[in-house]
């Protein structure tokens, strides 16, 4: 059998089967990826009395929005439906608003100040630029738990435990990732526009606000989405400094809600309603900006 025949044989029947098998594997992993999320949605929509009988079912049993209503406090405490089972107590509406506040406080200034710094690193010459940038890079090597101990003590000494500013402060002025990401974006665009503005007599501030920001708005949008998802999902640091109910964010609230009932059976339908509510904002971002999110993660490996 010569090479040509071999090539032909390979590209005919066995190839077809392998393609089919490949699609099957992809479909399998797609189901694996979404399956657990669906189980959470299913449980959240189920009447909690059906949890045992409907454990193996894929569809919600006696579908209801009651679980969502009770975890965000839309149900009056005297409602008879609350009395029949021992539901856990959680004010998830408060936790969601806390998460929104934390995310905004952490992300908006972070992006603004990181953008300014990234512009300086990418475009301006100044003494110590390389050293400072190297230090920023080196900082990413330090495991976060090393920094959490002194940062916790700092926040405690400032009297900022259980405050929004205490939770957001370490993220608010910069993150090394945001600076690198934007610096890279700035470096990858041509400088002609900025240079001609310089010749026309624009100050660096004018250039930054009138040219750099508008030109890179897509990069800012991408970074904002990534940083917002990260802040929304943050657990360890808010768990250390913001455990009080009045400030606890979504992830901390879910953790304490589950820990409340460590003894008895957890309030699973309530917990799953909380998790679904915690997923919704991220899911919306993914649906709206899927390509942006996927491709930026793909090229940066943000974690």
């Amino acid at each position: 059998m010569n090479k040509k025949q071999k090539l032909n044989r390979e590209s005919n029947s066995p190839f077809r089967y392998s393609v089919l098998f490949g699609y099957a594997v992809l479909a399998f992993f797609a189901i694996i990826s979404l399956g657990p999320i669906w189980i959470a949605v299913k449980t959240a929509l189920s009447d909690s009395s059906t949890l045992f009988s409907g454990a193996s079912s894929i569809l919600p049993q006696q579908p209801t929005l009651f679980n969502f209503e009770r975890v965000i406090g839309l149900v009056s405490p005297n409602d008879p439906r609350l009395l029949q089972t021992s539901f856990g107590k959680v004010n998830f509406y408060q936790a969601l608003t806390n998460s929104v506040a934390f995310t905004l406080l952490a992300v908006v200034p972070q992006i603004s100040f990181s953008a300014m710094a990234a512009y300086a690193f990418a475009r301006l010459r100044f003494f110590g630029r390389r050293l400072i940038f190297f230090l920023f890079l080196a900082a990413t090597m330090i495991p976060s738990v090393v920094l959490f101990i002194p940062n916790f003590i700092l926040i405690k000494d400032l009297g900022w435990l259980n405050t929004y500013q205490g939770m957001a402060a370490p993220y608010a002025l910069m993150t090394p990732f945001a600076v690198f990401f934007l610096r890279q974006m700035f470096l990858s665009t041509p400088t002609e526009l900025e240079e001609s503005a310089r010749i026309d007599g624009a100050s660096y501030f004018t250039i930054f606000f009138r040219i750099v920001l508008p030109v890179h708005r897509s990069a800012f949008a991408t970074l904002t989405i990534l940083a917002a998802i990260n802040a929304w999902n943050e657990f360890f640091w808010p768990f250390l400094v913001g455990r009080d109910r009045s400030v606890q964010v979504m992830a901390v609230a879910i953790n304490s809600f589950r820990a409340q009932q460590a003894g008895g059976t957890p309030d699973w339908s309530g917990l799953m309603a909380c998790t679904v509510l915690g997923i919704v904002p991220v899911a919306v971002l993914l649906v709206l900006f899927g390509r942006k999110v996927v491709e930026s993660l793909q090229y940066t490996g943000f974690r």
Binding site: L135, M141, V146, L173, V179, F205, N233, T275, G290
Partner: protein
């Protein structure tokens, strides 16, 4: 695109910065490159100094003290480190962490490579990539609680299915042998999509004609994977391995939600041990010493990996 630039500045404003008038200090502030640069990086620099640089040194200092946050820190020199060296719990937590990394990384990497190859060959759709990435975008805590629920021995969907198949119910998170592998599986599920996407990006950079040539030479799909794909994505492979190993060494959230280090310390990883020392028992000095040990350990692991895998070089040139 309309970019409006105010045509101002009557004096010559180019890169020659000689201020023509002495009164124009603020003018210089706005036009001198280095002044501007410092203004631009000032907020980020303050943040970096306060929450990265200073704490890094402070962590080192705290690790040399005995401090429970109630009294003033007492300087005790390297005593915490010699205590750590003789602490069986520390070595046990390191062992647990290594085991966890060992469960986690190979499977995650193989699944990532498999998915990446399939994505390159069959499906380049953004929707498919979004779907496999979805678990990564969900909070760790949520991922952990969903799996905790799915694997609940009594009511969980997973265990109901196992019962239905005939295997019977398995107490995944409360069994001393199974708890750590289960946590590894949860994190493999969360990270496999990201890993696959990163490999996918690396594979896209490989020119098609290399595969064509190999095919003409008679190389089958396995041969071209091990002979072409794997060597050519080595920089990506190193990046993914280094970052995911560093990440797995610091696993915390999943444990905080599910096992709390149990049963019988079988999931007490190093970061959980640090957390217990620092934030449950308020032994700040000792917790800091442990965290410094983790840092050193990670630095060594990273260096060794870079050396073994020769990160910089790709045959792609």
């Amino acid at each position: 695109m309309s970019v409006r630039v105010q045509p101002k500045a009557p004096s010559s404003p180019q890169r020659s910065h000689a201020p023509t008038r002495r009164s124009s200090f603020f003018r210089a502030l706005r036009y001198r490159e280095s002044y501007c640069a410092w203004i631009f990086i000032a907020p980020a620099l303050v943040g970096f100094f306060t929450f990265y640089l200073m704490p890094a040194f402070r962590a080192l200092y705290i690790s040399l003290t005995d401090w429970n946050l109630l009294r003033a820190p007492k300087f005790i020199g390297p005593a915490n480190f010699s205590k750590l060296w003789h602490d069986p719990n520390f070595w046990d937590s390191m062992k647990v962490t290594f085991l966890y990394v060992l469960y986690n990384i190979p499977i995650q990497t193989v699944i990532g490579l498999l998915l990446a190859v399939l994505l390159v060959r069959l499906g380049r759709s953004v929707i498919l990539r979004s779907v496999i990435l979805a678990p990564y975008l969900i909070a760790n805590v949520i991922v952990a609680i969903i799996w905790f629920w799915m694997l609940d021995p009594l009511l969980g969907f997973g265990n109901a299915v196992l019962q239905w198949i005939g295997i019977g119910r398995i107490p995944f998170f409360t069994d001393q042998q199974l708890a750590l592998p289960t946590i590894a599986v949860v994190n493999i599920w969360r990270h496999m999509g990201l890993t696959a996407l990163l490999f996918y990006t690396g594979m896209q950079a490989i020119p098609k004609d290399i595969y064509e040539a190999a095919k003409i030479e008679g190389a089958g799909p396995w041969r071209s994977f091990f002979g072409i794909t794997l060597p050519l994505i080595r920089p990506t492979l190193v990046f993914v391995l280094v970052t995911s190993i560093i990440g797995s060494f610091q696993v915390f959230d999943t444990i905080a939600v599910t096992t709390l280090g149990g049963p019988n310390y079988s999931t007490r990883t190093i970061v959980w041990y640090i957390y217990e020392n620092g934030f449950v028992n308020f032994r700040m000095g000792y917790a800091s010493a442990l965290s410094c040990a983790l840092f050193v350990c990670l630095a060594i692991v990273t260096l060794v990996q870079m050396r073994i895998l020769r990160s910089g070089q790709s045959e792609l040139g």
